[in-house]
Each structure stands twice: as C-alpha cells, then as structure tokens.
C-alpha cells in the first residue's frame, strides 16, 4: 500500500516535470506567431444586420469587426489611445470646423476593388450620419467630406466640433463600407448588410442560422504576413452554461464576452490548458445604473434619491453579484477612463440609518406595515448580473421601508416599457461608456430627448444647469477645457442623482492556452484579430 503511494507520488512529480518541460518552450514561441489554423469560438447572439456602420453595437462588432475595418482602433500605448487602421493620421483644424484623414495606400476591398477616400466620404455622409445609432449624435454637424485625392478625406463641419470627440469616436463609429456596393438601392436593404464586404483580414464565408458563422482568410490583406488564422468559426451557443463545457471538451478554443458564467470562472481557471483573461475590454465598459422615473413625486425629491443611493451596498454588489469582476462606481464616467474620470464628486456611503433618516426628513414615514411607499422595479433582462442586482435592490429597498415590486420582461418588452411607455419607477440598466461622455453618456441625463430613444433619459428628468453644461461642453474645442467641463458634469450628476451609478464592469475571456495575442488592445474582442494565432 505504502509502496503504491510512493510510486504515485513519483509519478506525479515526474509528470509535473514533464509538463513544465513542455510549458517552457511554449513561452519562448509566444513571440513568433504561427500561421494557419482554425479558431472556433462561442457566439451567444445572432445579429441579423451585420453592418457595423449602421448598427454600432458590440454584438455586431464581435463578428463584423474582422471583416469591416474602422479608420482607427483603440490601443494601449498609441498616441491618444489610438492605433491606425484604414487611416494613417488624423488632424483637427484649430477652429473645429474640419478634420483631415490621410488614408492607407494599397488597401483592397474583398471583391478586389481599391479602397479610396470616396468610400470614406460615402460612409460618413450616407451611413454614419443619417443611419448609425451612435453616429447620428457625433456626426450631426458633418456637412461635407472633401476628397482632394484618393488618399485624403477632409471632414467639414457646419458647427465647431471638438476634435477630441471625433478622435474618441473613431474606434467604434468609423466602420468604412464600400461605396460601389452600397450606392445602388437602399442602404438599409443592401444584401451586404447580411454578408458584409470590407477591407478586413477576414472575408465573410457563410452563416447557418442557429449553427455558425464562418469567416475565411483575406489573402490580399494590407497587413504584412497577416492574418495568421485561416478561418474563424463562431459556434452559436446561446446557453451560457454550455460554453464552459464546450471549452473543456475542446470543441471551442475561446469564449469571449463572459460567455462562461462568472460563478464558473474559479473552477475553470483550475482546468489545465485553459486561461481566464480579464484584459482586452478596457474600452468597453458597461455601467450598472439605477434609472429613475422623476415623474413619480417621491422620486422627484432629491432626499429620496439620496436615501436610495445610501441604501445600496456597492461593495456587496461587486463582491456578490459580480464576484469581484467589477468596480464600484462614483459617477457617470467609469474609473478606468484615462481622460475624463474624476473622483472628486459627492459620494454616498452604504448607511441604512442615514437613508432611513433622509426618508423621514422627506416626509415619507413608515406605515403600519413598515412600508413608506411602493415602487415598480424593472431590471433589464440582457445580463444575469442586471437581473441579480434587481433582486438585490429589492432587498436593499425593503431595508429602508420601500416596497419594490419586480417586473420581469423580455428585451423588447423592457425597452418598450422603460423608454417608450415610461411604465417604471426604477429600472436597472446597463449603459455602455464609449470613451467620451458625448457619445452615449450625456444622453442619459439630458432633457428634451423624444420618447422611444433607448438608453437615453426617459425618466422625465430636467435640470437646466446640467443641460447648459452639456451644451457648452459639446461646442468647447479646447481639450483641457472640455475635459474640465465633463469633470464638472460628473460632479453635478453625482450631486443631483438623475440616475444612480452603482458599478462598472467589463467582460472576461476564457481561452485555451494555444490561442495567442489575446487581449492586446482595449477593445480586443471587437477588434480585427489580424494578429491572433494558434499554436498547435
């Protein structure tokens, strides 16, 4: 018996050494990517429109950013956090009325036609400005795009537009589509929206509904020796628990966008051959926000909103709901933003006694059943975490005598209930911070937005001082002055609480050890993957 134990130990020791000896050279190779191979990964949604120039959302980018490229991509070490893609340089005029892009030479569309400044002009004027969900705001004053030669595009604005905003918008908003494909017929109905044609390292192969998307290598790609992979297969796995098993069974090599549930990460990080990576999403920060309907007279009272903010234990939320894969929030700009974030804002420590005192002060005393008043709470159904936070918030509000009734809806019904019908008192929403508050953040608190615009201020909040501040920032050209205005914006939002920012989170990738060059830029999952490779 004891002999067996010893021999087993020896076995373990020698096998560990064997493992180590194979692991060593692996690290050495990591610098020289191998060519070839097929990357299979999990996809949890199947967007119908794959045109990122029209639908600028992460679900679309995840697939189409490999096919259709932007003018620039986010970067960890590039100037202003950018790396060139289709544009080599960009320069804003001092008066804020024009931005000049120098384009890359020798780039070809997947159908062989050359890429020129005419494509950029067409995309900006015909697609981004009139059709794109985010471009409508950022490019609203774009009047013309001059093309003095094939490799120069000059954006002309009718009103001064901050260059900082245009720069920050490049990674997500500047997908260039081919003019010669889109100029015939209606852009929204173009077949290329479902089978995109771009300049990217991969070409669209095929799509089988409910099964997979297949992308194939673009042998004519402008990047030297790139791409390394021959093929990318997006295996549709809508069930979140199945991604983890598929990784373990080596059916897929990568699960991005937290396809593996957070609760499973601890276990899966111990599985040999798999790695858990929390980098590569710095440019895609989601914010956990309590949206407030200011039409309710109780919620229109600042003291009540402060009481709710004091009732939420943000550390508990980060620790329990997000299992530590998140950060507590102080205001409308996430802590990891390098340009705009300021910690110098009013904060609301977790303090149930203070919350109760504030509600008493506001005149909402507890009734005989211990409740002060009742609220309808609608957690957004898109993420497990938003639903779980809804469950938590109900308990947190119960502790201060507010009876919250949960209402669960599917995605379409939730968007209609909150953003069109305003049939909510509190809602839990996950807005995205996209590198500049003017892209998709100020819209959350600004007044005068028509009904039905999703992820905007639909709570009936109106603050003239804040509106004036937002308007002023949108026409301030000087980068420092503009940044300072947005710091002031954060202060005012945190003080007046049009909404309550609870936490900021991003995603986790789980990959097999053989996948190389993962997470090497802040928007890695939605970047072009030209340098991603497989060791085998």
């Amino acid at each position: 018996m004891s002999g067996f134990t010893i021999s087993r130990r020896q076995m373990l020791a020698s096998s560990a050494m064997l493992l180590a000896s194979t692991a060593m050279p692996t690290f050495g190779w990591a610098q020289t990517p191998k060519k070839g191979g097929r990357l299979v990964l999990a996809a949890d949604s199947e967007p119908r429109n794959l045109n990122p120039a029209i639908v600028a959302s992460n679900g679309v980018f995840f697939i189409s950013s490999k096919i259709v490229e932007t003018l620039a991509e986010a970067s960890f070490d590039g100037k202003d956090g950018l790396a060139p893609r289709l544009a080599l340089s960009w320069e804003g005029a001092a008066d804020g009325l024009s931005v000049t892009f120098k384009l890359r030479d020798g780039v070809k569309w997947h159908d062989g036609k050359p890429f020129t400044s005419a494509d950029v002009a067409f995309s900006a004027l015909q697609v981004w400005k009139p059709l794109q969900n985010l471009g409508r705001t950022v490019f609203k004053d774009l009047a013309a795009v001059d093309t003095p030669d094939d490799l120069t595009a000059v954006f002309k604005f009718a009103k001064p537009t901050p260059f900082q905003l245009i720069r920050n918008a490049l990674p997500a908003l500047s997908s260039v589509v081919p003019k010669h494909i889109y100029e015939v017929g209606k852009i929204e109905d173009n077949p290329a929206n479902n089978a995109p044609i771009g300049t990217g390292p991969f070409k669209f192969g095929e799509y089988k509904a409910g099964q997979y998307y297949r992308l194939t290598k673009n042998t004519d790609y402008w990047g030297k020796d790139e791409p390394y992979l021959d093929e990318i297969i997006y295996q549709v796995l809508p069930d979140r628990t199945s991604a983890a098993s598929a990784l373990e069974a080596e059916e897929i090599q990568l699960a991005a966008f937290s396809a593996v549930p957070l609760a499973d990460l601890d276990r899966i990080s111990k599985v040999p051959g798999l790695k858990v990576i929390s980098k590569g999403y710095e440019g895609l920060t989601y914010q956990l926000v309590v949206e407030i309907n200011h039409r309710r007279k109780e919620l229109a009272d600042l003291k009540v909103r402060q009481a709710i903010a004091h009732a939420i234990d943000k550390d508990f939320v980060v620790k329990t709901v997000f299992l530590g894969y998140a950060a507590t929030a102080t205001g409308p700009v996430p802590k990891n933003d390098p340009q705009f974030y300021t910690a110098d804002v009013p904060t609301y420590a977790f303090d149930v006694a203070k919350a109760n005192a504030l509600l008493d002060e506001a005149g909402y005393r507890r009734g005989a059943d211990g409740n002060r008043f009742s609220l309808k709470l609608l957690p957004a159904p898109y993420f497990n975490e938003t639903k779980q936070f809804g469950d938590y918030l109900r308990q947190a509000l119960a502790a201060i005598g507010i009876d919250a009734q949960l209402v669960n809806n599917d995605s379409a019904a939730h968007i209609k209930a909150v953003y069109t019908d305003h049939a909510f008192d509190l809602a839990v929403g996950p807005p995205v911070f996209r590198g500049d508050p003017a892209i998709s953040t100020t819209i959350l608190v600004q007044s005068g937005i028509p009904d039905g615009v999703p992820f905007s201020n639909q709570g009936g909040y109106k603050n003239d001082a804040l509106d004036a501040l937002i308007a002023k920032a949108s026409e301030t050209l000087d980068t420092t002055a503009r940044t300072d205005l947005y710091k002031e914006f954060q202060k005012q939002v945190a003080a007046d609480l049009p909404l309550i920012n609870v936490a900021e989170w991003s995603f986790i990738s789980v990959a097999r050890d053989t996948v190389g060059n993962i997470a090497n830029n802040p928007r890695w999952a939605v970047s072009n993957w030209a340098d991603t490779y497989l060791e085998s």
Binding site: A263, Q395, N408
Partner: protein, 276 residues
C-alpha cells in the same frame, strides 16, 4: 370496511398521504418558522448545505436562505396547484354539463371549443398567455387552468349524457323544473365523482407547469417558486449543484405525493362504490 381503513391498506396511498401532509405542513408553517421575507439576504453567498446550522441548506447566489425559500416555495406551488386545478375542474364541469345536458347546437359549439383548446399543447398555451398578459400569481393560475379544463369537460359531458336519461331527471322535467336547475342541481352533482378523480393528476400537472413557467422566467418574480430556484441555480450548476438539486427533489416528492394520495382516494371510492 370504513373508507379510512381501506385507504390505509394501500401502502402507496399512505406514502402519498405522508408526503402531502409534510408539504401542507411546510406550506402552513413557512410564515411561523421563517417569518419575514424569504428573499432577504441572510448570510454569505453560495454557502454549501450542512455547513452552518443556522442556514442548514446553505445560501444562494445572493446569500438567501435556501431552506426558507424552500418552505415559502411550497406555499406557492401548493397554492398554484390547488387553485389551477379548482379553476380547471370548475370550468370543465360547467362546460361539460351544459354541453351534455343541452345537446344539439350548444353541445356542438361547446365541444368544438373544447377540441380547439385540447389540440393546443397546454404548456404552450400557458406560455403564450403569460408572456402576453405579464407574470403574476393570478395570471399563472388562469394560464394553467386554460390548458387543463378540456379534460374534465369531456369526462363531465360523457357522464351527463348517461345521467340525463335517468328516471329522476325525467321526473324533474315533469314537475316543471327549469332546465338549468335540473342540470346544475340534479345532474352535475351526480356527474362529479369521475371528474374529481382526475384532480390529483391535474394538481400534479399544474405544479409542474408552474415550475416550468418560473424556470423560464415567467413566474411571479416577487414570490419564491421552486421552478425559479432551479432556474437561478442553473447558472452555477457546476459549482453549486445543490441550488438546483434541493428544489428539484422537493418538486419530485410533491408531485409524487399528490399523485399517490389521489390514486389512493380514487381506489378507496371505487371499492366503496363496488361494495354498495
């Protein structure tokens, strides 16, 4: 032989009765043993069972007491099961009696409607109904009843068809009773026993349907339900399987108990009828 002794003679009926009694005790004692909100956060998250004796069955993703949720979930399951079965039996026997007693065009119309409901799978009907109207306990009860009433209706109609030819019904006609009064005073009570015999199956099916609806996120989110507990546990199935297994076992035992006890009652009444 007294009916009770007859009932106690069949071991499966006794087992069923014990399970059912335990379930009812759980449902009734929930508010006493676990006062307050069962969804309140009671301890650290994902505590495994049998670690801390103040939280014997551990805690879920948010740190809620699984045992308290289980007890309060028993209430929901039982309430929905009984209410849905009662509604289905009430609708079914009324429709069946009217169809069988009136005959002719009324019979045709009512039975074709019954057929229409019977051809749609009950669960799909419930699913569609709840998604349109919105989830709350009352709606879930109606949704389940909507898919289950055709069964009792058909049984009631068949029974009424044979009863309406009996002499006492003819007598009632002769003394000038209103046809509706005959149908509901004279005929329906006599047609009920075989309809009631279906109740155990209906209750069991209703509890399962409620659990399935909650599992799909269409239960009332403000109440603890076993189906909802299983659904929540599913996300952490690999790391904390007890979160799905515990309510799963409760569900199995409940359905088994209801079914066995029901069967026992049916057999007892059958024996008594045979004897008399």
């Amino acid at each position: 032989m007294s009916p009770l002794r007859c009932f106690l003679r069949t071991p499966e009926a006794v087992a069923g009765a014990i399970l059912l009694a335990a379930l009812i005790a759980m449902a009734l004692s929930a508010a006493l043993l676990f006062p307050g909100d069962p969804q309140a956060i009671a301890g650290p998250a994902l505590l495994p069972p049998f670690q801390d004796w103040s939280l014997p069955l551990g805690t879920d993703r948010l740190g809620r007491d699984v045992l308290a949720e289980l007890f309060h979930g028993a209430r929901t399951s039982l309430a929905v099961g009984l209410a849905a079965a009662a509604a289905a039996l009430a609708i079914g026997s009324v429709v069946g009696t009217l169809a069988g007693f009136a005959g002719g065009l009324v019979d045709e119309v009512l039975m074709r409607i019954t057929d229409a409901f019977q051809t749609v799978p009950g669960f799909l009907l419930a699913l569609a109904f709840v998604s349109v109207v919105g989830p709350s306990l009352g709606i879930v009860v109606i949704a389940i009843a909507l898919g289950t009433w055709p069964g009792p209706a058909r049984v009631a109609r068949a029974e009424v068809l044979s009863i309406r030819e009996r002499d006492y019904v003819a007598g009632a006609r002769v003394i000038g009773m209103h046809p509706l009064a005959i149908a509901f005073r004279e005929v329906l009570p006599n047609a009920l026993p075989p309809v009631l015999a279906m109740s155990s199956v209906i209750v069991a099916a209703a509890i399962l349907t409620e659990a399935a609806l909650s599992f799909l996120g269409l239960g009332d989110p403000n109440r603890v339900t076993w189906g909802g507990m299983i659904a929540e546990g599913r996300a952490v199935l690999r790391t904390a399987p007890f979160l799905s297994i515990v309510p799963g076992i409760a569900l199995v035992l409940t359905v088994l108990g209801v079914y066995l006890a029901g069967e026992g009652i049916v057999e007892t009444t059958a024996v008594r009828r045979g004897l008399s």
